[in-house]
């Protein structure tokens, strides 16, 4: 028995030593490595996590306002998604470049100024090239400024990370936002107007008496569709709120 115990002890010691040795090796390796690969696993995760497991809308509960407001039809939703991805990526980049220059006491104002400038750009662009869309989106383009996702990412990520990582993070969060609002818009347009991208799908299939649901066009439809979507998404990812 004693012999056996001692043997296991020695084995444990050897295991420990070898473990330490590998740790040391790893440390050296990290130091030796010249630069992180362009798309390392960590960086891929920065982009992929917000798409499902850490989704800004369904898990973090951010940016709900615009998620509901513009999703009556798919087309304005698509424009809104592109606008938000643009704003979030560039705001992340700019703040990340300036992160060591911003005094922490006035950082909210600085962040708001950067975001407001980008949103003004988007709004002027829409006014110039797609005036109809500008009219449809109305005040909601301006409200990207107070979209909590943008502010949240700036505060939580761009203030502490390098520019390239911040761009990736912006892309991830932007697309995480985009696919949720596009899904909501798909169901709202399909059931509310009986069309997809303004194409009357049910009439084309020969079902001319498709009963469109007025509630789906209304705000209530948005709440219910998003609620159900969150239910499905959370059941799949296994996230439970306490």
């Amino acid at each position: 028995m004693k012999m056996g115990l001692q043997l296991t002890r020695i084995r444990l010691m050897i295991l420990n030593m070898s473990a330490e040795a590998t740790v040391v090796e790893k440390e050296i390796k990290v130091e030796k490595k010249p630069a992180e690969p362009f798309l390392s696993k960590r960086r891929k995760n920065i982009v992929i996590d917000p798409l499902s497991d850490d989704n800004p809308i369904t898990i973090q509960v951010l940016g709900i306002c615009s998620a509901l407001a513009v999703t009556v039809k798919l087309e304005p939703t698509l424009v809104m998604s592109i606008a938000v991805v643009f704003v979030i990526v560039f705001a992340n980049l700019i703040i990340s470049l300036m992160r060591n220059l911003i005094p922490s006491r006035i950082r909210i104002i600085v962040q708001l100024a950067v975001v407001a400038t980008l949103v003004t750009l988007v709004s002027e662009f829409l006014k110039a090239y797609s005036y109809d869309m500008y009219k449809v989106l109305g005040a909601y383009v301006g409200l990207i400024i107070t979209n909590c996702i943008v502010m949240g990412r700036l505060e939580a990520f761009a203030m502490a990370n390098k520019p390239y990582d911040s761009i990736l993070d912006g892309l991830g969060s932007g697309f995480g936002y985009a696919w949720i609002i596009l899904t909501v818009a798909f169901f709202r347009e399909l059931l509310g107007s009986g069309s997809i991208f303004d194409f009357k799908i049910f009439e084309a299939l020969g079902w001319t008496t498709f009963p469109t649901n007025g509630l789906m066009v209304d705000s209530i439809g948005a709440f219910v569709v998003l609620g159900i979507l969150i239910w499905i998404q959370r059941s799949k990812s296994g996230y439970v709120e306490h």
Binding site: L62, C65, I145, T146, A222, I228
Partner: protein, 203 residues
């Protein structure tokens, strides 16, 4: 009478939450307890009643096309509307800061209950949204102020109602995936349905 109508419209028919989905983030995040919801609601009413008229003055005398004529007639052709977003958000952020400092000096008790919510409000869509809608609606300054108060009070009412429901909801069995945000969205939908009945009221 017109003013009274604007306030009522802001509270019930054009409710910030149920009709325009504005301020949803704080509406969902700070509605777990009635007490905190009350604090946030009060702060929103307060800030909205102040910022909407200030932004109205800004829009009327600085930003609008030809608004600068009060300085000199030759400024007639200047249109600064593209600065609207930056100016409005700057006014809101600084007003919030100012209000926070004034409350801290004058009434520490009120500061204790509102204090933590005030910085949150700077990025509340309802505040910026009201200012942007106010521009579209072409109000005069008294109407704009009452619109600000009305929409703030609408938010106040909605968040307290939701918080009260969520306090009760703690004791019911909700499917795990629906817990928290999911069930809250569905409840908000049902509350919105109830608020829809006010549309029939002709004002």
């Amino acid at each position: 009478m017109e003013i009274f109508n604007i306030v009522l419209r802001g509270i019930f028919i054009d409710n910030m939450i149920f009709a325009y989905y504005l301020g949803m983030c704080s509406f969902l995040a700070v509605s777990k307890k009635v007490e905190t919801a009350f604090g946030l609601g009060l702060a929103v009413v307060f800030v909205l009643t102040l910022t909407v008229p200030v932004n109205w003055l800004l829009q009327e005398y600085v930003l609008k096309e030809g608004a600068l004529t009060w300085i000199d007639g030759s400024f007639e052709s200047i249109d600064l509307t593209f600065l609207q977003f930056i100016m409005f958000i700057a006014v809101i952020a600084s007003m919030v800061q100012l209000v926070e400092m004034i409350i801290e000096k004058l009434s520490p008790a009120l500061y204790g209950s509102l204090g933590i919510f005030l910085p949150l409000i700077a990025v509340n869509c309802a505040i910026l949204g009201s200012s942007l809608f106010m521009v579209q609606k072409d109000y005069n300054i008294i109407e704009a102020t009452s619109y600000g108060f009305g929409s703030g009070f609408g938010f106040f009412l909605a968040i307290i109602a939701l918080a009260a429901i969520r306090e009760k909801l703690k004791y019911s069995k909700v499917p795990p995936g629906l817990k928290g945000l999911g069930i809250t969205m569905l409840i908000t939908g049902l509350m919105g349905l109830a608020f829809k009945s006010f549309i029939g009221v002709a004002l």
